[in-house]
């Protein structure tokens, strides 16, 4: 690893910008994300900023059990985030469907649609846990170990 790659790796760890997407969530996890972004937990002290445009983001936070109506929007927004990118599944719903599992209007686990790098369990998870999940995703980005980066290497890009 030469010095430029090392600098880039540190930058990716120190500056994870996030984009939040509600894929049919009950809003519980979204309230916890809002609490995580509040002055009490202040994610900016580790460089995390919430971005309004997916094109500025590094990490996609997904909440909710992924309903049929949101899956196209999810694929679209995931595709808009420039590489390298990471996906963090917030709460139990994107992991398993939670209490909505088996519902006719729910697709199922998030990993069926896009590759998930970090799971933050809980219904809803604590704000500290969400922040730790973002930092773990930033660490994966820095080490080049997200699913997206590994898939790119296999493609030879």
């Amino acid at each position: 690893m030469n010095i430029l790659e090392k600098l880039l790796s540190i930058s990716r760890r120190k500056s994870p910008w996030i984009y939040c997407l509600n894929a049919g969530s009950c809003n519980g996890c979204d309230i916890e994300i809002a609490a995580c972004l509040s002055p009490r937990y202040d994610p900016e002290q580790v460089g995390t900023l919430k971005q309004g445009s997916p094109k500025h983001a590094d990490i996609l936070l997904v909440t909710g059990p992924l309903t049929l109506r949101t899956q196209d929007a999810l694929r679209d927004i995931w595709g808009q985030i420039p590489r390298p990118k990471a996906v963090v599944a917030i709460g139990s719903c994107p992991a398993s469907g939670n209490v909505f599992a088996g519902s006719p209007s729910v697709v199922g686990a998030l990993a069926q649609v896009i590759p998930v790098d970090v799971y933050v369990p809980g219904c809803p998870p604590r704000p500290q846990a969400i922040l730790v999940g973002c930092l773990q995703a930033a660490g994966l980005l820095a080490e080049g170990r997200t699913h997206d980066q590994q898939a790119n290497r296999e493609d030879g890009r």
Partner: protein
């Protein structure tokens, strides 16, 4: 040292690209840290703007469909170059750039370039939010330039010169107070900070003209915004602060003055909420016009 070397060092080292970028990252950090402390947060560490810039350089650049790839890269580059050239002409302590008659006019034109590039970037990105942001920026432009240009013109009338060094060497008088007032009034809108963060209004129009920008072009726009901040703040310190002639003290006063001005802008930005375009435009063409006329009248009388 001949004129070419001096021009080159002013453009590249100090106060141009390298020195200017370092100062820009410092000022951007002061803004973010102070805003965080005022909101009861801890705030980012001092290296944050630098790492943000490097990270954006290392990202893939996605060209939106139907957008000219050359234009996408040329606009932020033109913005950075214009801001660097403007900065290199401003007589801050230690600037080796040879002064020439009429450099004031060149600086004023170069300082308009980042705003112009932003408007073009917004319109050419084919994003609805980008177009709304660009239209707002263009409208606001007609507002804040009234007191800004009047302040500089009043100083030029007083100094009877269009050279920045002559303006900076003019002893302080009543015209400086009126002109400083008009200059400070225009500054938050020029920097797109609250209450005039109208063109890049987050939570409202996503990221304004930069909504579709990502990767390297976005990094360059962030850099040009920082350089523009440094250029405007050092223009203020050069024109309105009595820096004296002691070498060490000159540097110290210029840095302290710039830091205090950045802190003042942040204080106003944190304490206020966003105005609408209509309110901001009316503010500039009523109170801004009053400040402009006052500065020009005092310059004409004294």
């Amino acid at each position: 040292m001949n004129a070419w070397w001096r021009t080159g060092s002013a453009l590249l080292l100090w106060p141009g690209l390298i020195g200017g970028a370092a100062l820009a990252w410092l000022f951007l950090w002061i803004q973010r840290k102070l805003a965080a402390r005022l909101q009861g947060r801890k705030g980012p560490p001092f290296y944050q703007p630098f790492f943000d810039f490097i990270k954006l350089l290392g990202k893939e650049t996605v060209t939106p469909g139907g957008v000219n790839r050359g234009l996408l890269h040329a606009l932020p580059l033109a913005s950075v170059i214009a801001a660097t050239c403007a900065l290199a002409l401003i007589p801050v302590p230690g600037n080796l750039m040879p002064s020439f008659a009429g450099d004031l006019i060149v600086v004023l034109y170069l300082l308009e370039m980042p705003a112009l590039c932003e408007v073009l970037a917004g319109y050419s990105s084919r994003s609805l939010y980008g177009q709304v942001g660009a239209a707002r920026e263009a409208t606001l432009w007609l507002g804040y330039n009234l007191p800004f240009l009047a302040a500089v013109v009043a100083l030029a009338i007083r100094a009877k010169s269009l050279s920045l060094r002559a303006l900076a060497a003019t002893p302080l008088g009543p015209v400086h107070f009126a002109a400083a007032l008009a200059f400070l009034f225009a500054l938050p809108a020029r920097l797109k900070r609250n209450p005039f963060s109208i063109p890049n209004a987050e939570q409202e129009i996503v990221a304004g003209p930069f909504t579709e920008y990502n990767g390297v072009p976005l990094a360059f726009f962030e850099l040009s915004h920082g350089l523009e901040l440094v250029a405007l703040v050092s223009l203020f310190t050069a024109l309105f602060l009595p820096l004296g002639h002691t070498p060490g003290l000159r540097w110290l006063l210029a840095l302290l003055g710039s830091g205090a001005l950045v802190a003042l802008i942040t204080l106003v930005a944190t304490a206020t909420a966003r105005l609408t375009v209509r309110q901001a435009f009316r503010l500039y063409w009523s109170w801004g016009a009053c400040a402009a006329i006052l500065a020009l009248m005092i310059a004409g009388i004294w």
